[in-house]
Symmetry: C2
Subunit: 260 residues, 2 copies
């Protein structure tokens, strides 16, 4: 099942997407809902971020090749994580499918995409085993963990390198029927493939992260976990369009514009 | 003015506190509100965290003596920050005044308080100068940035060291009439003073942080910024009670219990 969130006739709604048709619901996928009978075509609405997250978790370093490439960029030794220590990003930075990523005027050339699988939590959870972990997951969407590498190297935290306004495109929707091992992530800039990897080839998988996290923290409906990216990233510049496709989920597409 | 948030007769409300009397409002301090005419005594309600934050920002390292003491604990050289780089904490960890801080069974002895001023954002803000910065502030409350130092030293992020469930007591209310330079923070464990410092003696003050942050990020009503703590902290153990008083705001009090 695909969940979309959208604006139409000045109103924000959730809907269930079948092909190009949206069936509007009252309520939401995290609590209760019922179909209202109203339908719309996908092309006739403005897609919003598929939900307003409560806590925005991010695995960060979670693919081997990315660790080596990131270390090179930051002039550090590669340091493979030995534990699934989760990090954080911030909601101010979220934008929807098709909305512009705004490149700040004082940012550097190393302004880069990171294509990521996003795990959407649907049920409250604590102390889940790895075998139980996916029981709290509603579905999956796609994230672009846009990063400014000069700031990432210079600052004590990643507040502006990764959390400046518009640096976190997410969408286009939530897909609930996913087989993690079958997913493939492909990033394209202006239609040209710049990254392509097996999405589930993580250092620590979704089940392991959820199991470790819920030893100490309660996950709530509407929390989300961004699972990291693989490989090196290339630079994006104003005028480019960045697409991230995860097979079976969809394609998240965003143009890059220069800050006015 | 003091804003409380509380549960009474199975209902959650905001109210305005005068002495020991709460005047219930409909609405909330971030949007619009009106007094309903219902009044209650402070002792007759269950206080909740004074609001459900949107994004939970934390300055972390923001007082000189704390930098030196933290460096000692982590066996590192003291490293005074040269920029106001903001960090993050997580909502799952928040608890209200009088609720128990649960010490996990696998945590170590260095389980410590950090008394902090909490800045509550009331208006959407971007690109504020230092002179304009306080115009987006609704008021101030008190936070206890409970920290497990073994985990802080061992992990790549502070997810469990500072964000395990119950590690972030906050309250008891929001005070809107505050002169930052007059504030003093005092921490007491079982009634004994263990920390006492001028709250505004920060490396980077509230105005500077807001001004720097809003160059890159939009602050929203309901966001908050925890401003860090001064000095060294001592250990807390189950059975202790930790009080944090900031003059003119109030006292946040929480017992420590062992995880069941």
């Amino acid at each position: 099942m695909r969940w979309v969130r959208y604006e139409a006739d000045g109103k924000t709604s959730y809907g269930i997407l079948n092909g190009d048709e949206i069936s509007e619901v009252s309520g939401n996928p995290f609590e209760t809902y019922s179909e209202t009978g109203t339908t719309r075509t996908l092309g006739s609405v403005k897609l919003l971020i598929p939900f307003e997250p409560k806590t925005f978790y991010a695995a960060g370093i979670n693919y081997e090749e990315h660790v080596r490439e990131a270390a090179k960029l930051l002039n550090r030794e590669p340091d493979l994580p030995d534990k699934a220590d989760i990090g954080y990003r911030a909601n101010n930075a979220l934008i929807a499918h098709n909305e512009p990523i705004v490149k700040p005027r004082d940012s550097g050339e190393r302004f880069q995409y990171e294509g990521e699988l996003v795990v959407v939590i649907g049920k409250q959870a604590k102390h889940l085993s790895e075998a139980e972990a996916l029981s709290c997951v509603l579905g999956y969407t796609i994230g672009n963990d846009v990063s400014e590498r000069d700031w990432q190297a210079a600052d004590r935290t990643m507040w502006r390198a990764k959390n400046s306004d518009t640096f976190k495109p997410m969408g286009p929707w939530i897909e609930t029927d996913v087989e993690l091992d079958k997913l493939r992530t492909q990033v394209r800039v202006n239609g040209q493939v710049v990254s392509d990897f097996a999405t589930n080839n993580m250092i620590f998988g979704v089940q392991h992260y959820i199991s470790v996290m819920t030893r100490n923290i309660t996950l709530f409906p509407g929390d989300m976990i961004w699972m990291g990216t693989d490989g090196a990233s290339e630079n994006m510049k104003p005028g480019d369009v960045c697409d991230i496709e995860i097979t079976g989920i969809g394609t998240l597409s965003n143009p890059i514009v220069l800050e006015e």
